[in-house]
């Protein structure tokens, strides 16, 4: 049982993770190192420790993952995909280094992936998913070139994925899932279209994700998991219904998922920690106004000061 956030240990865990490159687990994750870097670095920034990483080295590695098409790969040598393009842009935003990007090239890569019906493919192979709609919209908004896509059609497609329970799925007719709901609500928030959400219906579905122990699950009758602290909470915040859950109980659940000895946060108490859940745990605590954690933006998934710096200044 933990009663507080062991922030120093989490910072050390993140900085160490980089050095354990040769374990099987990290080789399996090799192809999504860009996501891993975003999770780790954002966590560090939320804990005010971004200064402890070699910024120039990371930035040049990020740029080495850029493909000639403009998109970014999950790691050097891999193929480009929007999943990693967003992480790359987010990392550069954290370091206030967006100016080194060829914005025209990156935004063209994303804009070309929009389909006739408004949806987005993840890469040239045509997998369609509302996750990619969110990524495209989030990324282009950070780069201030949403005008490169048809926003109206993009929004129309997202709304066509709305279900009768108020949630959203990855394609029209697909079941609601908290991760997918975050993507759709986030994209609607960024484009100023939250009035297309049935806030009370979705809010009830989302607040019923809180289970007895205080944790949140991602779909009805599933186990709670720290990563849903982010997806459910950020969605509830964006639609202004976060007061419908018991925040204190959720804080306790997240704290209980910490590895108090070696740092890091896991999906459920006493499971193995990883960088993904460490990020979602800390970001969740930020949304819960936990002291000592910087506020995070619920739609862009970056610290509020980073997003305000980019979007509120001309």
């Amino acid at each position: 049982m933990a009663d507080k956030l062991v922030a120093d240990k989490h910072v050390r865990y993140i900085l160490m993770a980089e050095k354990k490159k040769e374990s099987f687990e990290s080789v399996v994750m090799d192809h999504l190192r860009m996501n891993g870097a975003y999770w780790g670095l954002t966590t560090l920034d939320l804990l005010e420790k971004l200064g402890s990483v070699p910024q120039d080295e990371i930035v040049s590695w990020v740029m080495s993952c850029q493909h000639e098409s403009g998109g970014f790969a999950g790691n050097t040598g891999h193929d480009p995909h929007v999943l990693y393009t967003l992480s790359a842009v987010q990392i550069l935003a954290l370091f206030d280094k967006l100016n080194i990007l060829d914005v025209g090239k990156v935004s063209s890569y994303i804009a070309k992936l929009q389909n006739e019906d408004g949806s987005f493919s993840g890469d040239m192979w045509g997998e369609v998913d509302t996750r990619f709609s969110y990524i495209a919209i989030c990324c282009l908004s950070i780069l201030k070139c949403l005008d490169k896509i048809n926003v109206g059609k993009a929004v129309g497609y997202i709304v066509s994925c709305k279900n009768l329970d108020g949630g959203f799925g990855c394609t029209p007719g697909a079941e609601s899932h908290a991760g997918q709901i975050f993507c759709c609500v986030g994209a609607l928030a960024i484009t100023g279209n939250l009035h297309r959400v049935d806030k009370d219906l979705l809010g009830w579905w989302l607040c019923e994700r809180q289970v007895e122990c205080g944790g949140l699950n991602g779909r009805p009758e599933k186990l709670p998991d720290v990563c849903y602290s982010w997806w459910v909470l950020s969605s509830l915040i964006m639609i202004d219904r976060v007061h419908w859950i018991d925040k204190a109980k959720l804080v306790k659940f997240i704290l209980d998922c910490q590895d108090l000895d070696n740092g890091g946060i896991s999906d459920r108490p006493d499971d193995a920690v990883d960088i993904f859940h460490t990020y979602f745990g800390v970001a969740g605590l930020s949304l819960l106004e936990y002291p000592g954690v910087k506020p995070v933006d619920p739609a862009y998934a970056l610290p509020v000061d980073v997003i305000n710096r980019i979007l509120l200044t001309k």
Partner: protein, 682 residues
Amino acid sequence: MHGRPRKASEPGEDADSAAKAVKLRSLQSQFMSNHHGKIYTKVAIELSTELLKINPEAYTAWNYRKLAVEDNLSRIESDPDLVKSILDEELSVVESALMQNFKSYGAWHHRKWVLSKGHSSIGNELKLLDKFQKKDSRNFHAWNYRRFVVELTNRSKQDELQYTEDMICKNFSNYSAWHNRSVLVSSLLANRADGFMPNEKIPEELDFVHNAIFTEPGDQSGWFYHLWLLDQTVDVETPLLASSWPSHGCSIILSGPGCLNDSSSKFTTFCSESGSFPLIIYFDQAVGGVSSSTVTIDSELKGNEDLVWEPVSGKNSQVSCGWVTRMKYFSSEPIVRKEYKVKVRVGNSPGIISSRGGCNFSAPCEFFFTAHVHDAAVKDSEESIVSWTDEFDIWDAQSEDLNSFVSLGRLNAEMDLNWRQEALAKEVELFRQLSDSKIGKLTLARLLMASEAMASDDTVKGAHYEEILQLYNDLMALDSSHYQYYKDMHSVAFLHKVTSSTESLSRYLFRYRNMNNLVCLRLNNLSLSRIASVEKLLFVQMLDLSHNELHSTEGLEAMQLLTCLNLSHNRIRSFSALDSLRHVKQLRVLDVSHNHIGKHSVDTTRYLCSSPLSNSEWTQDEVGRQKPSLVTKYWDAYFVLRDMSLKQLDVAGNVIAGDEFNSFVLQVMPKLVWLDGQKLRT
């Protein structure tokens, strides 16, 4: 990483893991060199097979295989056997990858991609899926793939509906199956398929879902399906006009800015410097297509030929329950007192369309009112302070005039009410038996609210509110984790009760003597956490919501007549929570003192307001150019306040208030006269 126990590694395990890592690393680097060298030989392809068996998430390897397939297909011309064997090989690689990792997006997509190449063995796909769905009946990848195959093979919706029924009968705790059922049933209902008329099918489905809910009330699988059916029972697809301001048959007085001398009039007096007044129509559901051709106006008031209608929440939203247009009543020549009849016809030509089912507003309806236009004002009251303590006259509850303000909801006579009322009555009776459980109480409260909305007999109207309020009180105690949800619903029910009759409403109505006898509604000190029933309050000009638990003004944008608003002692956390007030063009007096503005690091209305964060268009003004850092710091106050024309503002008692903030406010709102009770100019 999910569901892996945290433990110290056993001896030998590290070495084991390291050896596996070395093997995988070497496979990966060989694969990369094949990929970059565009080598698609048999050996090279097999290497990628091996890699994907160990790591189905290696997305670049799936991409490589697609390139290899295309390369190989281009060499063999069109030998159907060869094509089939190449594609079969891909399907089997996918299958073994899925055995290893059920949730691999890359593997599922690869399968779809292979099928899109024209593979003939689509018939096998449903069999394969049955195998997967037996193992994990909630896997959403499998369900998505199922919908994809069903569409590709043109399998009938009825057959798929039977499949969901089989799955549910095996185990009703399968939300995925209930979800798919809702998709199928709603599509069959919308197409009026054989046996899917709402009046027959919805009661049938209600019976079907009862089994699940009554067997295990704590299991959520059936909850949302039941709520959807309830909505289908209550919601009518064709939109109805719920209310308007001015309301049917009423008289209003229109004048220039300032005060009229004879303010004893029982009519609503509306003063404006712009010489126009808002005409508001409110529908029972969000609609689009309100325009000067779908709503026609017949009056002698000049200059109102091509009126522009806008949603009350601003022109960015395409659909809305409330719509407003501004009618001119002053032309260049001075007018001596005159009376005008105004006739409004809603649904004159087709085009008002529901956002719900795309249905047309079908029954055109008409209302009229009388406008008395007065000469410009006599007494100037612009600079005086509005007080929330004195100068209120109690409403004469006996007076007839209230009826002319309040237009209570009307039900469409054409609507098929019978089966709906019957179904509701049956549900109420049934759920009373479940009223010791959370879902039983909540459903009962919702059913009773629906019964109120559906009641066609005036004598039974309002009979259920006490019970509903009690149910929500019980729920707050029973399920404290969701306390605020029930609290909000309690507020909604309470406001429905208040507005359910002119008699109950009149208890909260006053006249503000100091300013043209403004119609004032005082809903202070009621522990309200939520605003509701605004469509019945369109006539209110002064609203006291002080000493409640509100954290947002969402909904107030419909009250276009509001001139004075008191929100002091509530739980407003930021100026963005007041965004809806930007659309209330008449608002001059706002009290948000003693709230929580500036106290919290998380702003829950950050994206519900119009700002660069939600990519709304904005132009920089003088303040933005001169004080960029203050604009970033107080961005919500900046974007919300600069669109308001307030004369009087109270912000004291908030964390944000202070010299720096107050002087920023003065720059953003140069026309402000009173700030925190202090007169700014003489």
